[in-house]
């Protein structure tokens, strides 16, 4: 019998604990979290706030009781204080607890921007069930919201707030939203936000908030920008990204990678025997660039939790996690926004470090045979390396269905490092409700082929 301790109850920790138990029911599994809820879907919160998920408890995949039924001991509201790798020991709520294997699923922390009076009331971040409930309750009593940051969560919350009749102001410090996309695609995202929000959404670019004004009860009144604009709102959501929660790990001598997250190998092992790191606290490896990377996503956390559990419990059948592609997707009303791999911009930046000569091809095409009802144009971009012909990434924006169909396909093109030539005749299924007879991925590949000859 081994004792396996998992710290953290997010997607990675919950998966690691469950998998470790399933692999060997004799193992003693203890999961510690400083929160009171585990295994909930963070990604589902915008849909709860919107109102399309009626009960926030639906987002809880499994309760601590469910885990206990499966023989996993869950300790909520328990805080990790110290890791002593040399003694195979952690200190939690002042108690020394010894382990055979330790899986760290410490998650991420919200990046709090430097704004005067940031701790005013009615300033929210979205990281927990409780914060989701607070934001929804506040929204229901409000007319206007200020969102700071312009990433996916910001876009998802904008939909939720617009659907609930609020006026939305987004403040983005960069010149474009959605920094993972090329500027032309960020412009498309801007356009669909404007199309769907009508007069109810305003986006201020290249702008930073420097101060929150508040009343005598510490309640937020307005935001003052670096351009000396004052923006009143009923409440604020900070959607300014997150960073890996690594302080305790680092102070125990666990190595961090270039990204600032915990450095792990392909089996999710840290530099200490018997200590694994998974999910948002762990560094990622990008398969395309072959470099360290960082992104916090539930789907990756899940895979890493599974792999770490196998390697912790069954080192005799080691499992390897081969890395990420950088695939993301979100919905905005009836639109889908998705990407995988490298944008042209990112590939250009990388060409200073590694040997890349990026080319790109954008195709605007009907999402089904043009004679079909409800046909609508969508945009897809492929990036490739001119010399090797390797496909490096894809971006797409269009109506629901269309986009996931293409970006998911491109992920498996990237996975196997296929080239322009490899995909030129890809035998995608065709029928008029699903595409034109030449899929836009192929049209983009034809264009790339022409470009690669120049």
């Amino acid at each position: 019998m081994k004792k396996i301790i998992v710290i953290g109850g997010g997607a990675a920790g919950a998966k690691a604990a469950s998998k470790a138990k399933r692999l060997n029911p004799d193992n003693l599994i203890e999961l510690y979290t400083n929160e009171d809820i585990i295994a909930f879907s963070l990604c589902g919160l915008p849909y709860y706030i919107e109102g399309s998920v009626s009960d926030v408890n639906k987002l809880i995949v499994r309760t601590p009781e469910d885990f206990k039924k499966n023989g996993i001991n869950v300790f909520t509201n328990h805080t990790l204080e110290k890791i002593i790798p040399e003694e195979n020991c952690v200190i939690i709520n002042n108690n020394h607890i010894f382990y055979d294997q330790l899986i760290l699923a410490l998650g991420a922390k919200v990046h709090i921007p430097k704004i005067k009076n940031i701790k005013a009331n009615n300033v929210y971040t979205l990281r927990s069930i409780a914060s989701g409930v607070e934001i929804r309750n506040k929204m229901l009593k409000s007319k206007k919201v200020l969102i700071i940051g312009g990433g996916y969560i910001s876009i998802e919350l904008t939909e939720a707030f617009i659907k609930n009749g609020l006026e939305v102001v987004i403040i983005e410090k960069n010149e474009h939203l959605a920094s993972d996309f090329d500027y032309d695609f960020a412009d498309r995202i801007h356009k669909i936000i404007m199309e769907k929000s009508g007069q109810n959404c305003q986006i201020l670019y290249s702008t930073q908030v420097v101060e929150f004004k508040k009343d005598e009860n510490n309640n937020f009144i307005s935001a003052i920008t670096d351009k000396n604009e004052e923006i009143e709102a009923d409440f604020v959501v900070l959607s300014t990204g997150a960073y890996p929660n690594v302080a305790i790990a680092a102070s125990a001598g666990i190595h961090l990678g270039l990204s600032g997250a915990i450095k792990v190998d392909n089996r999710m092992r840290t530099n200490f025997n018997h200590i694994f790191a998974v999910g948002d606290c762990a560094e990622k490896y990008c398969k395309i660039t072959r470099q360290a990377d960082y992104i916090g996503l539930g789907t990756i956390a899940n895979k890493e939790g599974r792999v770490a559990a196998i390697n912790a419990v069954r080192p005799d059948i080691p499992e390897s996690f081969d890395g990420i592609l950088g695939s993301t997707i979100t919905r905005f009303f009836d639109y889908t926004i998705s990407k995988t791999g490298l944008s042209y911009k990112k590939a250009e930046q990388l060409s200073n470090i590694i040997d890349l000569e990026p080319i790109e091809a954008t195709v605007l095409k009907s999402d089904r045979a043009s004679y079909m009802p409800n046909a609508s144009e969508f945009a897809i971009k492929l990036t490739a390396d001119k010399r090797s012909g390797e496909i490096l990434g894809g971006q797409a924006i269009g109506k629901i269905g269309t986009v996931a169909q293409r970006i998911n396909t491109i992920t498996s093109i990237l996975q196997s490092r296929q080239t322009i030539e490899d995909i030129l005749h890809l035998d995608l299924p065709y029928a008029p409700p699903f595409s034109g007879s030449i899929d836009p991925i192929l049209t983009a590949a034809y264009k790339l082929k022409e470009l690669s000859k120049k």
Copy 2:
């Protein structure tokens, strides 16, 4: 200047002619067809019959006049009578016409089953714009239709007829519909037809029609089956497959392959210099089995037309067509039915010939996060080879969006011959409206991995 003759005005011929002209505008391009319309979308006809495409002319991608504007001479109602490869000559409408390069896009012919009085009035096949218009007009005056055959066109027409208030009887000679699918998936197709058609569709399996009864004006009255049942209907649609139109080519000494279609190499060349064959008259090469195959699909025709044109016009920059995967898709009301590669059944058959040990994994899963509104279960199956781990095919049935997203992804997995191990951690993008946090493709891969250990 070269003279390039294209015979046939379907997808393959139209594409070949256009591409040949674009590659070198100095070429003289002549396209001959025995029909009066070219370059129309055969696949769009069911949606015209249904009424969702309002004007049948929308299905015409380009008219002969459009081609003429681009410098391509189109001769409609011109019938190929003979090919004399030794003289680089064809006889069309009694005239000898000489060519530098000949591209045969002769298409397919409807397979007419052996039924007594098959030539009765009100018995239709769907191969042309005119037949689509006739069927729609007849449907609008009718209450009941008999469809013989249970493939995709039959399924698409069933939707069209049900939506227009008709009663439908499908007669299928095999025990299951949709022979490209495994029986369990064919059963799912049966179920969704029943679900959507209510009492208005009846499917008779293992049944063949032996005779049509007709009245004194040669009008169809009823069908008599091999079980001596009599089925009355207002009209009949034969949806009994098609076979390559090769008689004239074969009599000229052009080699046919094992499939009965014209044998071509990877540049779409026949056994004669200067003669290419493309589209539904040409044999296919299946990339998975590495064997000759036959399937008539517009999307493949398009690719082959393009490749033949390049090789005919610019042999200095040869282009290769690397074959097909056998990907198909269709819609039935709000369901999508799709497959790519080999079914388990097909892989089992092949295991008698080539070294395959097929395994399969079916996953039933919500098409989005289960807490999202309108979540619905869909079914996906992956087949793989136990020894090599190579993924051999996929089948899926579910609501619109869901299915194309997965099967398109599997095509590119097949294209690069990825294994179970390769796709175990495929970084598909995730958000609650598009999938659960573990995509069903990955769940199927996990299952296959377990099976491959046994």
